[in-house]
Amino acid sequence: MKHVLVLLGVLAGSLCQAQDVFGEGKKTFLLMPAEAISSGIVSNVEISASGRHVIFQKTAIPTIEELTGKPVKSSTLWYIYDRTSKTTIKLPVPEKAKRVSVVGDGSTVFYCGYEVNDPQGFINVKTGATTQTNINVQELTYLGDKPFAPFLVTTSENGLVNLIAPGRQPVSVKLPPKVGMYSPTSADGNNIYFNAFVRTTPMRFGRVAYSLSTGTANFSEMTRDEFMKLNEQEEQQSKFWFENIGDLAYVKLNEEKVTTSPQASKGPLEVTSAKQSSPGAASFIPKRAKLALATCKPVFSDTSEFVVYQDAGALLIREIKPIDPDLAKKVVEAELKTKAMNDAKQAALALLMYGADMDDVLPGAEGWEDKVMPYSLDKEMLKKFNYTFRGGDLNNVESPSTTEMGFVLGPGGRAVAYVDGHVKWIPNP
């Protein structure tokens, strides 16, 4: 059977997978290929506020005896992955420390426990040098991971706030009476701003501006609405979220975030532009992209730049990049087309292999799928194939290269398989 040999090569598609494209309307994204961060059994994965570092704990891959015997003690070893250099460094964090956080730009890490007596200190990530600290960890209100505020903050009952930067003397700031402080939210050249509240009933809200030049803290009060609105604008939260369907986890746009974000509610502009984009483009692009198994525990960066997830314990990272909707549409179309071509080719191959076993006679239209099933083992694929050849002896076909065997529907056309085994894309008229 010479037909069969022709068919054995499968069409190679573009490696950019359409299943990685997702989005809604004009907001389309591509889940980039995965980078591996770590092997082993990973736990406590956290991403720094700047999105540059990923901190995690890791247990080396246990032996089979350990795995099937008593539960393995969860790891106390900490690691930090730098997204810029793509390297992972082990951190010399003592066993009793339960919290580890990046300070500012990531050159320093702070560790501490929950109790005052637990070990605590700063680690210089480059040199590994550790400086012990003496901070009341129960008064810690901020761990220093925002790049514009690279210091820890402790707040005591008496309104005294300490700003503790690595390698420097702590700075004490007196807050106005009854004012309490949350974490820092933003900064400009002169001030670092903190969310703040006044201990009254009902509670009042506002912000504290810490002046870098004078070292003083000024409180300005806001209405509750102003406070919430400002908070929402400044609070960084990933645009993306995940959804588990069956065995798999999918990445999608965080709908809540999309609908309530100030940009989305700005006016009719957004709505009209969505309507104007051709309905075809929108319908091609799936709302979700496949990430990994449902057990992958995804963590999204607040900067909406990437997702970190696990596959059988190993830690992987995938960047999420915005992609032009037209390009996204092209990618999805090309993929669907390639898939249709591949499916047509596979189905034709199965039919021809059946023919080779049956003296070159192809099955009739009735029940052909069941007859061909042993040659393909993929019923889903056979179902997509519209078998148009009426059956019969292949040797009686006068022109095998122009006689249609069947087709698979694709975007804007059909992938047609011919009796000689070749497949051609025929656009819809």
Partner: protein, 412 residues
């Protein structure tokens, strides 16, 4: 009521064996170990050496959507060799347009083949250092790439009768066959000789013959093979792995290979286990020690270890118990929240399902739950000892009490 809810929301944390990674038969079970990452990026053309020590692959990195899109099947990037002993990948300094790298039987060198227009299209690469050397033009066709441990040389057919044996250390051998003979592949060796499978097409295709090649002198001699010997040689060419890895839907599964259809498992041990999502190629080592697969372009490896069937059964039982306890606890929470909304009163036995339904995630959770509390005021005398309900499990019951705690009670 508040505190009860808080207590019950803490889930059980298991760091031990992952029951979903166990598969096999009642008599013989295996466990897939946690994954080791071999490489990120977009990996193409990965292959495992005969010994299982090396994984050779080609990788490309894309930084932007446009770059991802630009990557096609023609341009697949740099070549690497991952050493399972040192758990490290090193870059192979092979020419651009290298189309394949095969690990040789000596487990140290690779044969690369280049698809450029130069006269010499093959060479050797040292997998431990990455250095490579392109060979002089040989003017023939490579008919054996040297992957068998007993025959670590490349074989080139120069003419109908002349063959060249190329060793990575520079040694060369010549072999001459009479006209009409067709060379297939090496089938074994000892210190003095290497044996090949050949057929004489002029006489008859059968019986096949064994060619003995003297490694020192290059002298050859022939011996006819019996049908049994012939079949044995062909059987040995098939992959010898114990496992079958195959995709189904969105997932890749692994199961034990068996000639006959195995009897269905009576114990909890499942026939198959999920390897990972189906997003690229996957492969199992011929020595059955591990499986490699792709997740979004990245290449991962999972060791497969045999587990005593009784141990496997126990791990699965423990896991099921944990799950049942968790579910019982969640049911307890659902009832408690219902009571909080209904003046601390729990529903009676009749129609409790409909009343609790709004408080649970899905109906699956209720499945098999036996609600044994007769209903009424939740504030009983001894909540930690008063049963609310239970789920049946292997050899016992997962019982949830009125205080929200759950305990495993073995059958008497």
């Amino acid at each position: 009521m508040k505190k009860l809810i808080l207590v019950t929301f803490a889930a059980f944390i298991a760091v031990g064996a992952n029951a979903q990674d166990i598969f096999g038969l009642d008599t013989k079970a295996y466990m897939m170990m946690p994954a080791e990452s071999i490489s990120g990026g977009i990996v193409a053309n990965h292959s495992i050496s005969e010994s299982g020590r090396w994984i050779v692959y080609q990788r490309q990195i894309a930084k932007s959507p446009e770059e991802v899109r630009a990557i096609t099947s023609q341009n697949k990037g740099d070549w690497f060799a991952y050493d399972r002993k040192s758990k490290q990948s090193i870059k192979l300094k092979v020419p651009a347009l290298t189309a394949s790298v095969t690990v040789m039987g000596d487990d140290r060198y690779g044969l690369f083949m280049v698809s450029d227009e130069q006269e010499s299209n093959i060479g050797f690469v040292d997998l431990t250092s990455g250095t490579s050397m392109r060979l002089q033009p040989h003017g023939g066709q490579v008919i054996y790439t040297g992957e068998f441990p007993f025959a670590p040389f490349v074989m080139v057919q120069k003419s109908e009768t002349d063959y060249l044996l190329l060793y990575p250390n520079g040694k060369q051998g010549q072999m001459q066959l009479s006209k009409g003979y067709r060379m297939y592949f090496p089938i074994g060796s000892d210190q003095a000789s290497t044996y090949f499978f050949v057929r004489n097409r002029e006489v008859s295709a059968f019986p096949s013959q064994q060619l003995t090649y003297n490694n020192q002198t290059g002298a050859t001699s022939f011996k006819n093979l019996t049908t049994e010997e012939n079949n044995k040689i062909f059987a040995s060419l098939r992959p010898q792995t114990n496992f079958i890895v195959r995709p189904m839907g969105d997932m890749v599964y692994i199961s034990q290979y068996s000639e006959e259809r195995p009897a269905p498992n009576k114990s909890l041990i499942p026939d198959t286990a999920k390897v990972g999502p189906r997003s690229g190629r996957y492969d199992v080592a011929n020595n059955s020690e591990f499986v490699i697969y792709q997740d979004a372009g990245a290449l991962l490896l999972r060791e497969i270890k045999p587990v005593d069937a009784l141990t496997a059964q126990k791990v699965l039982e423990d896991d099921l118990k944990k799950e049942l306890l968790n579910r019982a606890k969640q049911m307890g929470t659902a009832f408690a929240i219902y009571a909080a909304d209904n003046e601390d009163t729990l529903p009676g036995a009749e129609g409790w399902e409909a009343k609790i339904r709004p408080y649970i995630k899905n109906d699956e959770m209720m499945k098999g739950f036996n609600y044994t509390f007769r209903g009424g005021d939740m504030n009983v005398d001894n909540p930690a000892k008063t049963e609310m309900g239970f789920l049946m499990g292997p050899g016992g019951r997962a019982v949830v009490y009125m205080d929200g705690s759950a305990r495993w009670i073995p059958n008497p």
